[in-house]
């Protein structure tokens, strides 16, 4: 197992629940094609077949969108989707692994789980972005991101169709940027 290796590029983890898909669909077309980062999307959803979500997201951008597969090496310039019904983890060698353990915050995949492991592996090169939702998932994960020197971003609850999750984060976690839904693309492009 490799240790203390430095993240080769920054990682942005986007976590969303109810009402977040529309935000993602609106920022995807605005992303620069030559992304200097890897993007990981962790979305709460019922366990319908993953290809549906993947083709929906792919239809909005020419950037490669794919489901994260176990043992796959993360690459910059790719948008990964956490598969339904597994927690998504990252190993020290920057490969994905999947975990079928208990739900966390009633959710699998859980946003906290992926934020925390991203913080551990990508350290200060991690950005966590938390979107609309009706859950408290994501807040603890943002704390972990902050604690390892990463950047924390939350969708402005007033622009969220379900404000509970981002509001909870804003009141409980150290948040660097509170962004309107419309400003998220520009933020990602600047990374």
């Amino acid at each position: 197992m490799e240790k203390n290796s430095i993240a080769p590029f920054p990682l942005i983890v986007v976590g969303g629940s109810a009402g977040s898909l529309e935000v993602i669909l609106s920022f995807l077309p605005l992303l620069r094609k030559d992304l200097k980062v890897a993007i990981l999307i962790v979305l709460h959803r019922s366990s319908d077949p993953d290809p549906v979500l993947q083709s929906l997201l792919s239809s909005k951008t020419s950037i490669a969108v794919k489901e994260a597969e176990e043992k796959e090496l993360l690459m910059k310039g790719v948008i990964y989707i956490a598969p339904a019904d597994y927690h998504l983890l990252i190993e020290k060698d920057f490969t994905f692994s999947l975990d079928y353990s208990e739900k966390v915050n009633y959710s699998r995949p859980s946003i906290d789980v992926t934020f925390e492991i991203a913080a551990e592996v990508f350290k200060e090169r991690t950005t966590g972005i938390l979107l609309s939702g009706a859950n408290t998932d994501g807040t603890e994960g943002l704390m972990a991101v902050k604690a390892t020197g990463g950047t924390t971003v939350v969708q402005d609850p007033s622009t969220a169709s379900v404000p509970y999750m981002p509001q909870y984060a804003v009141s409980h976690a150290p948040v660097d940027h509170v962004l309107k839904a419309a400003d998220i693309a520009a933020f990602i492009n600047s990374q």
Partner: protein
């Protein structure tokens, strides 16, 4: 925020203790999950430090059992991934019907939900009487539960839905009787089940099978261990036998892939062809 008392070095120390004292070798397991599980044990067990955890693990065999149970994730469901069971019901099991004796192995069966689902399928397509279903796991505690065939009653609604989606036509509740907060599954489903501990890391092939299921176990193993387990399965499968993996697991990158063919549809089921 969750404090990670157990860092990477502590994980390695515990893994070494487990080998030296108990002969359990987890060194080829993916680290991210192991570390998360061990930190969860620390949190739930309120261990003040790594030293206490290590001490207890070394000197308390009862705690060892609990520890193993916690780090090897046991979550499971009946008829999980209904389309998978539909494929078994419609495509795989009927092809096994010509064998006089059908041997099936569930490797990493956990508390048995998968095994009872299989038994129900076999009953419904009238093959049960000529099957032997071997169900194994590294962890004796989950096997004891599996033998009882008692699952939380609160899950039955979901399982019943899964069952119907998998092509089941009967009344699912006909397979169990409610017993306080448990659903006790029919003893007739258990007649052909054989439960035994078997550690995929170090134990050998123990029979030849027509169907091996190993679902959501390999995701916890690193590539080397995955390769070793695939060759164990290859050794344990009859020619034209089937190997069924979890939805996110694949034989594709294994050197053995050439000897297997994924059956037509999208399910993670391979047939041994050579």
């Amino acid at each position: 925020m969750e404090l990670n008392i157990i860092g990477d070095d502590e994980v390695e120390i515990l893994l070494r203790d487990l080998i030296e004292i108990y002969g359990y070798d987890f060194t080829d397991y993916s680290r991210a999950s192991l570390k998360r599980r061990i930190n969860r044990i620390v949190l739930i067990g309120k261990f003040p430090s790594f030293a206490e955890l290590r001490y207890k693990l070394k000197f308390d065999p009862d705690f060892l059992k609990e520890f193993i149970e916690q780090i090897t994730v046991n979550v499971t469901e009946m008829f999980r991934d209904p389309s998978f069971y539909k494929t078994l019901r419609e495509e795989v099991l009927p092809r096994l019907g010509t064998y006089p004796l059908i041997r099936i192995w569930h490797a990493g069966c956990s508390t048995g939900e998968e095994v009872y689902s299989m038994a129900i399928l076999l009953k419904e397509i009238n093959l049960y009487h000529k099957c032997l279903i071997y169900a194994t796991d590294i962890n004796p505690t989950v096997l004891e539960k599996a033998m009882k065939g008692m699952f939380p009653l609160s899950q039955m609604r979901k399982y019943s839905e899964n069952y119907l989606l998998s092509g089941g036509k009967k009344e699912f509740s006909g397979y169990y009787s409610a017993n306080y907060e448990f659903a006790k599954f029919d003893d007739a489903l258990r007649e052909k089940m054989i439960f035994s501990t078997h550690n995929l890391v170090c134990d050998r092939s123990f029979n030849e099978f027509q169907l091996i299921l190993c679902r959501n176990v390999l995701i916890y193993f690193d590539k080397n261990l995955q390769a070793r387990v695939f060759s164990l399965f290859d050794d344990s499968l009859e020619n034209l036998g089937y190997l069924a993996l979890g939805t996110k697991e694949t034989l594709r990158f294994s050197p053995l892939a050439a000897r297997f063919r994924q059956i037509i549809n999208a399910e993670k089921i391979w047939r041994k062809i050579a």
